[in-house]
Protein backbone atom coordinates (compact mmCIF):
# COMPACT_ATOMS: atom_id res chain seq x y z
CA UNK A 1 0.00 0.00 0.00
CA UNK A 2 2.78 2.34 0.97
CA UNK A 3 4.61 1.39 -2.24
CA UNK A 4 1.49 2.24 -4.33
CA UNK A 5 1.18 5.60 -2.69
CA UNK A 6 4.78 6.48 -3.53
CA UNK A 7 4.21 5.60 -7.21
CA UNK A 8 1.12 7.80 -7.22
CA UNK A 9 2.92 10.74 -5.73
CA UNK A 10 5.79 10.21 -8.18
CA UNK A 11 3.32 10.31 -11.08
CA UNK A 12 1.62 13.40 -9.77
CA UNK A 13 4.94 15.20 -9.37
CA UNK A 14 5.86 14.28 -12.95
CA UNK A 15 2.56 15.70 -14.20
CA UNK A 16 3.05 18.87 -12.18
CA UNK A 17 6.55 19.32 -13.56
CA UNK A 18 5.36 18.78 -17.14
CA UNK A 19 2.60 21.35 -16.64
CA UNK A 20 5.13 23.83 -15.23
CA UNK A 21 7.49 23.34 -18.19
CA UNK A 22 4.58 23.73 -20.64
CA UNK A 23 3.42 26.98 -19.05
CA UNK A 24 6.95 28.43 -18.94
CA UNK A 25 7.71 27.51 -22.55
CA UNK A 26 4.37 28.85 -23.81
CA UNK A 27 4.91 32.08 -21.96
CA UNK A 28 8.31 32.44 -23.61
CA UNK A 29 6.90 31.85 -27.10
CA UNK A 30 3.69 33.87 -26.70
CA UNK A 31 4.55 36.58 -24.16
CA UNK A 32 1.57 38.75 -25.19
CA UNK A 33 -0.86 36.02 -24.27
CA UNK A 34 0.34 36.18 -20.69
CA UNK A 35 0.42 39.99 -20.43
CA UNK A 36 -2.34 42.08 -18.88
CA UNK A 37 -5.66 41.60 -20.70
CA UNK A 38 -4.28 38.38 -22.01
CA UNK A 39 -7.55 37.10 -23.48
CA UNK A 40 -7.82 39.97 -25.96
CA UNK A 41 -4.11 39.87 -26.72
CA UNK A 42 -4.28 36.17 -27.51
CA UNK A 43 -7.08 36.67 -30.04
CA UNK A 44 -5.45 39.56 -31.88
CA UNK A 45 -3.43 38.36 -34.87
CA UNK A 46 0.01 39.84 -35.53
CA UNK A 47 0.08 43.03 -37.56
CA UNK A 48 -0.29 42.42 -41.30
CA UNK A 49 1.47 44.51 -43.93
CA UNK A 50 -0.31 47.79 -44.53
CA UNK A 51 -2.35 47.48 -41.38
CA UNK A 52 -2.57 50.44 -38.97
CA UNK A 53 0.19 49.89 -36.45
CA UNK A 54 -0.16 50.60 -32.76
CA UNK A 55 1.79 53.77 -31.79
CA UNK A 56 4.40 51.76 -29.91
CA UNK A 57 5.10 49.67 -33.05
CA UNK A 58 5.72 52.63 -35.36
CA UNK A 59 9.47 52.96 -36.02
CA UNK A 60 11.04 56.40 -35.69
CA UNK A 61 11.19 58.22 -39.05
CA UNK A 62 14.54 58.28 -40.85
CA UNK A 63 15.82 60.44 -43.67
CA UNK A 64 17.78 59.29 -46.70
CA UNK A 65 20.94 60.70 -45.17
CA UNK A 66 20.60 58.35 -42.24
CA UNK A 67 20.72 55.33 -44.54
CA UNK A 68 24.01 53.48 -45.06
CA UNK A 69 25.75 54.56 -48.27
CA UNK A 70 25.15 51.11 -49.86
CA UNK A 71 21.40 51.49 -49.60
CA UNK A 72 21.43 55.04 -50.93
CA UNK A 73 22.78 54.03 -54.35
CA UNK A 74 20.12 53.91 -56.99
CA UNK A 75 20.11 50.64 -58.89
CA UNK A 76 18.29 49.91 -62.12
CA UNK A 77 15.28 47.67 -61.57
CA UNK A 78 16.58 44.85 -63.74
CA UNK A 79 20.40 45.17 -63.86
CA UNK A 80 20.99 41.72 -65.37
CA UNK A 81 18.19 41.90 -67.87
CA UNK A 82 19.38 41.12 -71.39
CA UNK A 83 16.64 40.56 -73.91
CA UNK A 84 17.14 38.02 -76.68
CA UNK A 85 17.95 40.08 -79.74
CA UNK A 86 19.88 37.66 -81.93
CA UNK A 87 18.53 38.38 -85.43
CA UNK A 88 19.70 34.98 -86.71
CA UNK A 89 17.60 33.07 -84.20
CA UNK A 90 14.66 31.19 -85.66
CA UNK A 91 11.36 32.65 -84.62
CA UNK A 92 7.73 31.73 -84.33
CA UNK A 93 4.47 33.64 -84.10
CA UNK A 94 2.84 34.03 -80.72
CA UNK A 95 -0.67 35.23 -79.99
CA UNK A 96 -1.86 35.60 -76.42
CA UNK A 97 -5.50 35.55 -75.33
CA UNK A 98 -6.27 36.97 -71.90
CA UNK A 99 -9.42 35.73 -70.17
CA UNK A 100 -11.11 36.02 -66.80
CA UNK A 101 -10.32 32.72 -65.11
CA UNK A 102 -13.76 32.45 -63.52
CA UNK A 103 -16.10 33.64 -66.28
CA UNK A 104 -13.76 32.69 -69.17
CA UNK A 105 -14.68 35.99 -70.85
CA UNK A 106 -11.97 37.83 -72.80
CA UNK A 107 -10.30 40.81 -71.16
CA UNK A 108 -9.55 43.74 -73.45
CA UNK A 109 -6.70 46.20 -72.95
CA UNK A 110 -4.58 43.82 -70.87
CA UNK A 111 -0.87 44.70 -70.86
CA UNK A 112 1.00 41.60 -72.09
CA UNK A 113 4.78 41.27 -71.91
CA UNK A 114 7.00 38.49 -73.29
CA UNK A 115 9.66 38.03 -70.62
CA UNK A 116 12.50 36.83 -72.87
CA UNK A 117 12.34 39.79 -75.26
CA UNK A 118 10.54 42.45 -73.26
CA UNK A 119 8.04 42.82 -76.14
CA UNK A 120 4.94 44.54 -74.84
CA UNK A 121 1.50 44.79 -76.37
CA UNK A 122 -2.18 45.13 -75.44
CA UNK A 123 -5.17 42.91 -76.05
CA UNK A 124 -8.03 43.96 -78.34
CA UNK A 125 -11.77 43.75 -77.71
CA UNK A 126 -11.57 39.94 -78.09
CA UNK A 127 -8.87 39.73 -75.44
CA UNK A 128 -6.25 38.87 -78.08
CA UNK A 129 -2.87 40.39 -78.78
CA UNK A 130 -1.63 40.85 -82.33
CA UNK A 131 0.65 38.11 -83.68
CA UNK A 132 4.10 38.67 -82.25
CA UNK A 133 7.31 37.43 -83.82
CA UNK A 134 9.17 35.77 -80.96
CA UNK A 135 12.24 33.56 -80.53
CA UNK A 136 12.07 29.87 -79.64
CA UNK A 137 14.47 29.55 -76.72
CA UNK A 138 15.50 26.00 -75.96
CA UNK A 139 17.25 24.81 -72.87
CA UNK A 140 20.86 24.07 -73.92
CA UNK A 141 21.20 20.89 -71.88
CA UNK A 142 17.90 19.53 -73.13
CA UNK A 143 18.78 20.36 -76.72
CA UNK A 144 22.06 18.47 -76.61
CA UNK A 145 20.50 15.56 -74.85
CA UNK A 146 17.46 14.96 -76.98
CA UNK A 147 15.70 16.41 -79.94
CA UNK A 148 13.48 18.51 -77.75
CA UNK A 149 9.98 18.95 -79.05
CA UNK A 150 9.53 22.62 -78.32
CA UNK A 151 11.07 25.80 -76.99
CA UNK A 152 9.52 27.74 -74.15
CA UNK A 153 8.65 31.36 -73.41
CA UNK A 154 7.24 33.18 -70.43
CA UNK A 155 4.46 35.75 -70.57
CA UNK A 156 3.20 38.20 -67.95
CA UNK A 157 -0.17 39.89 -68.14
CA UNK A 158 -1.27 42.94 -66.14
CA UNK A 159 -4.90 44.02 -65.79
CA UNK A 160 -6.19 46.60 -63.33
CA UNK A 161 -8.32 44.97 -60.65
CA UNK A 162 -6.81 41.53 -61.33
CA UNK A 163 -3.87 39.67 -59.86
CA UNK A 164 -0.85 39.69 -62.14
CA UNK A 165 -0.67 36.48 -64.13
CA UNK A 166 2.62 34.80 -65.02
CA UNK A 167 2.54 31.99 -67.56
CA UNK A 168 5.76 30.03 -67.83
CA UNK A 169 6.64 27.37 -70.38
CA UNK A 170 4.54 28.48 -73.34
CA UNK A 171 5.41 25.89 -75.99
CA UNK A 172 6.94 27.40 -79.13
CA UNK A 173 7.76 25.69 -82.43
CA UNK A 174 10.01 27.33 -85.01
CA UNK A 175 8.12 28.79 -87.94
CA UNK A 176 4.72 27.97 -86.48
CA UNK A 177 1.91 29.81 -84.77
CA UNK A 178 1.43 29.31 -81.05
CA UNK A 179 -1.69 30.50 -79.30
CA UNK A 180 -1.73 30.61 -75.54
CA UNK A 181 -4.36 31.60 -73.02
CA UNK A 182 -3.55 33.62 -69.93
CA UNK A 183 -5.96 33.17 -67.03
CA UNK A 184 -6.54 36.24 -64.85
CA UNK A 185 -8.19 36.26 -61.44
CA UNK A 186 -9.88 39.27 -59.84
CA UNK A 187 -8.40 40.73 -56.69
CA UNK A 188 -10.80 39.79 -53.95
CA UNK A 189 -10.49 41.06 -50.41
CA UNK A 190 -12.45 40.00 -47.39
CA UNK A 191 -14.07 42.37 -44.90
CA UNK A 192 -10.81 42.84 -43.04
CA UNK A 193 -8.88 43.62 -46.22
CA UNK A 194 -5.99 41.53 -44.96
CA UNK A 195 -5.68 39.02 -47.82
CA UNK A 196 -2.31 39.03 -49.56
CA UNK A 197 -2.31 39.95 -53.22
CA UNK A 198 0.40 38.22 -55.21
CA UNK A 199 0.87 37.06 -58.83
CA UNK A 200 -0.77 33.87 -60.06
CA UNK A 201 1.53 31.32 -61.71
CA UNK A 202 0.41 29.07 -64.52
CA UNK A 203 3.10 26.64 -65.62
CA UNK A 204 2.65 24.85 -68.92
CA UNK A 205 4.11 21.38 -68.40
CA UNK A 206 6.64 19.73 -70.69
CA UNK A 207 5.02 17.67 -73.40
CA UNK A 208 4.41 14.08 -72.32
CA UNK A 209 6.28 12.73 -75.38
CA UNK A 210 9.40 14.57 -74.24
CA UNK A 211 9.06 13.33 -70.66
CA UNK A 212 8.83 9.74 -71.87
CA UNK A 213 12.01 10.18 -73.90
CA UNK A 214 13.79 11.87 -71.02
CA UNK A 215 13.00 9.04 -68.59
CA UNK A 216 14.00 6.39 -71.13
CA UNK A 217 17.29 8.18 -71.92
CA UNK A 218 18.69 7.58 -68.43
CA UNK A 219 17.15 4.19 -67.64
CA UNK A 220 19.95 1.80 -66.66
CA UNK A 221 18.15 -1.23 -68.06
CA UNK A 222 14.89 -1.64 -70.01
CA UNK A 223 13.18 -3.09 -66.92
CA UNK A 224 14.25 -0.45 -64.42
CA UNK A 225 11.44 1.57 -62.86
CA UNK A 226 8.32 1.50 -65.00
CA UNK A 227 10.35 0.07 -67.89
CA UNK A 228 10.75 1.53 -71.36
CA UNK A 229 7.72 2.61 -73.32
CA UNK A 230 6.17 -0.43 -74.97
CA UNK A 231 2.94 -1.30 -76.75
CA UNK A 232 1.61 -4.06 -74.49
CA UNK A 233 0.22 -1.78 -71.80
Amino acid sequence: MKKDMSWKSFGLSCLAMAALVFVTETAAIYPHSFAAGSKIAAETPPAAAGEQLAPEDVPPPITEQQLPAKLREEKPIRPEYKPITDPAAKTAKLQVTVIDGRTKKPIPNADVVVVETGDRTRTDANGQTPMMNEPVPRDEVGRRLLNRLHGQLAVISYVNGYRDSITIGVRMHEGQITRTTVWQYKIITDATGKLRVEPVLYQVPYHRLYLLQLADAFRASPDEGEGTERPDR
Binding site: K104, N147, R171, E174, Q176, R179, H207, R208, D232
Partner: protein
Protein backbone atom coordinates in the same frame (compact mmCIF):
# COMPACT_ATOMS: atom_id res chain seq x y z
CA UNK B 1 -29.88 -31.56 -46.53
CA UNK B 2 -26.99 -32.46 -48.78
CA UNK B 3 -29.40 -33.08 -51.66
CA UNK B 4 -30.98 -29.69 -51.15
CA UNK B 5 -27.61 -28.00 -51.18
CA UNK B 6 -26.56 -29.79 -54.36
CA UNK B 7 -29.85 -28.85 -56.04
CA UNK B 8 -29.52 -25.22 -55.03
CA UNK B 9 -25.96 -25.09 -56.30
CA UNK B 10 -27.01 -26.59 -59.62
CA UNK B 11 -29.85 -24.06 -60.00
CA UNK B 12 -27.48 -21.25 -59.11
CA UNK B 13 -24.94 -22.35 -61.70
CA UNK B 14 -27.53 -22.80 -64.45
CA UNK B 15 -29.44 -19.58 -63.75
CA UNK B 16 -26.34 -17.57 -63.01
CA UNK B 17 -24.21 -18.59 -65.96
CA UNK B 18 -26.08 -19.93 -68.85
CA UNK B 19 -29.19 -17.83 -69.43
CA UNK B 20 -27.95 -14.48 -68.11
CA UNK B 21 -24.97 -14.53 -70.45
CA UNK B 22 -27.24 -15.21 -73.38
CA UNK B 23 -29.73 -12.51 -72.34
CA UNK B 24 -26.94 -10.01 -71.77
CA UNK B 25 -25.46 -10.71 -75.19
CA UNK B 26 -28.85 -10.33 -76.82
CA UNK B 27 -29.71 -7.09 -75.01
CA UNK B 28 -26.38 -5.26 -75.25
CA UNK B 29 -26.63 -3.04 -78.29
CA UNK B 30 -23.77 -2.92 -80.75
CA UNK B 31 -22.98 0.70 -81.38
CA UNK B 32 -22.26 1.20 -85.03
CA UNK B 33 -21.58 4.24 -87.08
CA UNK B 34 -24.95 3.62 -88.77
CA UNK B 35 -27.09 3.53 -85.61
CA UNK B 36 -25.16 5.93 -83.38
CA UNK B 37 -24.97 9.67 -83.96
CA UNK B 38 -21.77 11.52 -83.15
CA UNK B 39 -21.91 12.70 -79.52
CA UNK B 40 -22.43 16.40 -78.94
CA UNK B 41 -20.63 16.53 -75.62
CA UNK B 42 -17.97 14.71 -73.64
CA UNK B 43 -18.11 14.51 -69.85
CA UNK B 44 -14.58 15.06 -68.61
CA UNK B 45 -13.72 14.00 -65.06
CA UNK B 46 -11.26 16.54 -63.67
CA UNK B 47 -8.76 14.92 -61.33
CA UNK B 48 -7.24 16.79 -58.42
CA UNK B 49 -3.78 18.24 -58.92
CA UNK B 50 -0.61 16.89 -57.39
CA UNK B 51 1.65 19.19 -55.38
CA UNK B 52 3.39 20.47 -58.48
CA UNK B 53 0.09 21.67 -59.86
CA UNK B 54 -0.49 19.01 -62.53
CA UNK B 55 -3.53 16.70 -62.69
CA UNK B 56 -2.78 13.52 -60.78
CA UNK B 57 -3.80 10.32 -62.64
CA UNK B 58 -4.51 8.71 -59.26
CA UNK B 59 -6.15 11.79 -57.77
CA UNK B 60 -9.82 12.15 -56.81
CA UNK B 61 -12.38 13.29 -59.36
CA UNK B 62 -13.11 16.81 -58.15
CA UNK B 63 -15.57 17.83 -60.88
CA UNK B 64 -17.16 16.61 -64.09
CA UNK B 65 -17.15 19.22 -66.82
CA UNK B 66 -19.07 19.08 -70.09
CA UNK B 67 -17.28 19.99 -73.32
CA UNK B 68 -18.33 20.15 -76.92
CA UNK B 69 -17.13 16.94 -78.57
CA UNK B 70 -14.98 18.60 -81.24
CA UNK B 71 -13.62 21.21 -78.87
CA UNK B 72 -12.54 18.44 -76.53
CA UNK B 73 -10.55 16.83 -79.37
CA UNK B 74 -8.98 20.20 -80.19
CA UNK B 75 -7.80 20.60 -76.60
CA UNK B 76 -6.40 17.05 -76.53
CA UNK B 77 -4.49 16.81 -79.82
CA UNK B 78 -1.72 19.37 -79.04
CA UNK B 79 -1.17 17.69 -75.69
CA UNK B 80 -0.94 14.21 -77.15
CA UNK B 81 0.78 14.90 -80.50
CA UNK B 82 3.33 17.65 -81.15
CA UNK B 83 1.73 20.53 -83.08
CA UNK B 84 4.97 20.87 -85.09
CA UNK B 85 4.60 17.41 -86.60
CA UNK B 86 3.63 16.45 -90.13
CA UNK B 87 0.02 17.19 -91.10
CA UNK B 88 -0.77 13.53 -91.85
CA UNK B 89 0.53 12.42 -88.48
CA UNK B 90 -1.70 15.03 -86.85
CA UNK B 91 -4.71 13.91 -88.90
CA UNK B 92 -4.15 10.27 -87.91
CA UNK B 93 -3.90 11.47 -84.31
CA UNK B 94 -7.09 13.49 -84.64
CA UNK B 95 -8.96 10.39 -85.83
CA UNK B 96 -7.58 8.22 -83.02
CA UNK B 97 -8.53 10.81 -80.41
CA UNK B 98 -12.00 11.17 -81.89
CA UNK B 99 -12.72 7.44 -81.96
CA UNK B 100 -11.23 6.88 -78.51
CA UNK B 101 -13.47 9.52 -76.96
CA UNK B 102 -16.53 8.46 -78.99
CA UNK B 103 -16.14 4.90 -77.72
CA UNK B 104 -15.88 6.13 -74.14
CA UNK B 105 -18.98 8.33 -74.38
CA UNK B 106 -20.78 5.04 -75.09
CA UNK B 107 -19.07 3.28 -72.18
CA UNK B 108 -18.95 5.80 -69.32
CA UNK B 109 -17.44 5.23 -65.89
CA UNK B 110 -18.83 5.94 -62.45
CA UNK B 111 -16.19 6.59 -59.81
CA UNK B 112 -16.90 7.94 -56.34
CA UNK B 113 -20.49 8.62 -57.38
CA UNK B 114 -19.48 10.73 -60.38
CA UNK B 115 -20.18 9.59 -63.93
CA UNK B 116 -17.85 10.67 -66.69
CA UNK B 117 -16.67 9.50 -70.10
CA UNK B 118 -12.97 10.32 -69.85
CA UNK B 119 -10.71 12.02 -67.34
CA UNK B 120 -8.16 14.74 -68.09
CA UNK B 121 -5.01 12.67 -67.57
CA UNK B 122 -2.97 9.96 -69.27
CA UNK B 123 -5.49 7.45 -67.90
CA UNK B 124 -7.49 8.42 -70.99
CA UNK B 125 -6.16 11.35 -73.01
CA UNK B 126 -4.32 14.45 -71.79
CA UNK B 127 -6.84 17.29 -71.85
CA UNK B 128 -5.97 20.88 -71.02
CA UNK B 129 -8.68 23.48 -71.39
CA UNK B 130 -8.06 26.18 -74.03
CA UNK B 131 -4.75 24.82 -75.30
CA UNK B 132 -5.85 24.27 -78.92
CA UNK B 133 -3.40 25.31 -81.64
CA UNK B 134 -4.07 26.35 -85.25
CA UNK B 135 -2.21 23.38 -86.79
CA UNK B 136 -3.95 20.79 -84.65
CA UNK B 137 -7.35 22.48 -85.07
CA UNK B 138 -6.99 22.08 -88.83
CA UNK B 139 -6.25 18.38 -88.37
CA UNK B 140 -9.32 17.87 -86.16
CA UNK B 141 -11.54 19.70 -88.64
CA UNK B 142 -10.15 17.65 -91.54
CA UNK B 143 -11.62 14.43 -90.11
CA UNK B 144 -15.02 15.99 -89.45
CA UNK B 145 -17.81 13.74 -90.75
CA UNK B 146 -15.51 10.70 -90.80
CA UNK B 147 -15.03 7.75 -88.50
CA UNK B 148 -12.65 4.80 -88.37
CA UNK B 149 -14.67 1.73 -87.50
CA UNK B 150 -14.68 -2.05 -87.61
CA UNK B 151 -14.68 -3.31 -91.17
CA UNK B 152 -17.99 -4.79 -92.33
CA UNK B 153 -20.08 -4.11 -89.20
CA UNK B 154 -19.23 -0.43 -88.74
CA UNK B 155 -18.87 -0.99 -84.98
CA UNK B 156 -17.45 1.92 -83.04
CA UNK B 157 -14.24 0.70 -81.45
CA UNK B 158 -11.66 2.27 -79.22
CA UNK B 159 -8.61 3.38 -81.20
CA UNK B 160 -5.66 3.20 -78.84
CA UNK B 161 -2.25 4.74 -79.21
CA UNK B 162 1.05 4.99 -77.36
CA UNK B 163 4.13 7.17 -77.69
CA UNK B 164 6.46 4.67 -79.41
CA UNK B 165 10.06 5.49 -80.25
CA UNK B 166 11.45 8.25 -82.41
CA UNK B 167 12.86 7.48 -85.85
CA UNK B 168 11.07 4.24 -86.65
CA UNK B 169 7.67 2.99 -87.77
CA UNK B 170 7.40 0.98 -84.52
CA UNK B 171 5.80 -1.93 -86.30
CA UNK B 172 5.52 -3.89 -83.00
CA UNK B 173 2.65 -1.60 -82.02
CA UNK B 174 0.55 -3.05 -84.86
CA UNK B 175 0.42 -6.37 -83.00
CA UNK B 176 -1.30 -4.68 -80.12
CA UNK B 177 -3.69 -2.66 -82.29
CA UNK B 178 -2.16 0.57 -81.11
CA UNK B 179 -0.80 3.42 -83.12
CA UNK B 180 2.72 4.55 -82.23
CA UNK B 181 2.72 8.34 -82.16
CA UNK B 182 6.38 8.68 -83.10
CA UNK B 183 5.78 5.98 -85.70
CA UNK B 184 2.94 8.00 -87.23
CA UNK B 185 5.32 10.95 -87.58
CA UNK B 186 7.97 8.70 -89.11
CA UNK B 187 5.53 7.29 -91.64
CA UNK B 188 4.12 10.72 -92.49
CA UNK B 189 7.63 12.03 -93.08
CA UNK B 190 8.11 9.11 -95.44
CA UNK B 191 5.11 10.04 -97.55
CA UNK B 192 2.31 8.05 -95.90
CA UNK B 193 -1.12 9.69 -95.95
CA UNK B 194 -3.14 9.65 -92.76
CA UNK B 195 -5.39 6.87 -94.09
CA UNK B 196 -2.35 4.69 -94.79
CA UNK B 197 -0.97 5.42 -91.33
CA UNK B 198 -4.26 4.30 -89.78
CA UNK B 199 -4.30 1.20 -91.99
CA UNK B 200 -0.74 0.42 -90.97
CA UNK B 201 -1.53 0.29 -87.24
CA UNK B 202 -5.19 -0.75 -87.04
CA UNK B 203 -6.19 -4.09 -88.50
CA UNK B 204 -9.64 -4.77 -89.95
CA UNK B 205 -10.81 -1.17 -89.72
CA UNK B 206 -12.24 1.15 -92.35
CA UNK B 207 -13.07 4.78 -92.89
CA UNK B 208 -16.80 5.50 -92.76
CA UNK B 209 -19.07 8.52 -92.83
CA UNK B 210 -20.72 9.56 -89.59
CA UNK B 211 -24.47 10.15 -89.31
CA UNK B 212 -25.38 13.79 -89.78
Amino acid sequence: MKKWLTAMLAVFVLVGWFPTGAIYAAKTPVHTVQNTPLPKIVRVGIRENNWSGQPDPRGRIIAVQYYDFERYAKDVLPNEWSPSWNTDSLRAGAMAIKMFSWYHTLHPFTVQGQTFDVDNTVNFQVFRDLTDQPQTNTAVESVRGLAYVKRGTGEIVELNYRAGKEGSANWQYRNFQKMAQWGSQYLAENGYSYERILQFYYYNRDLARTRQ
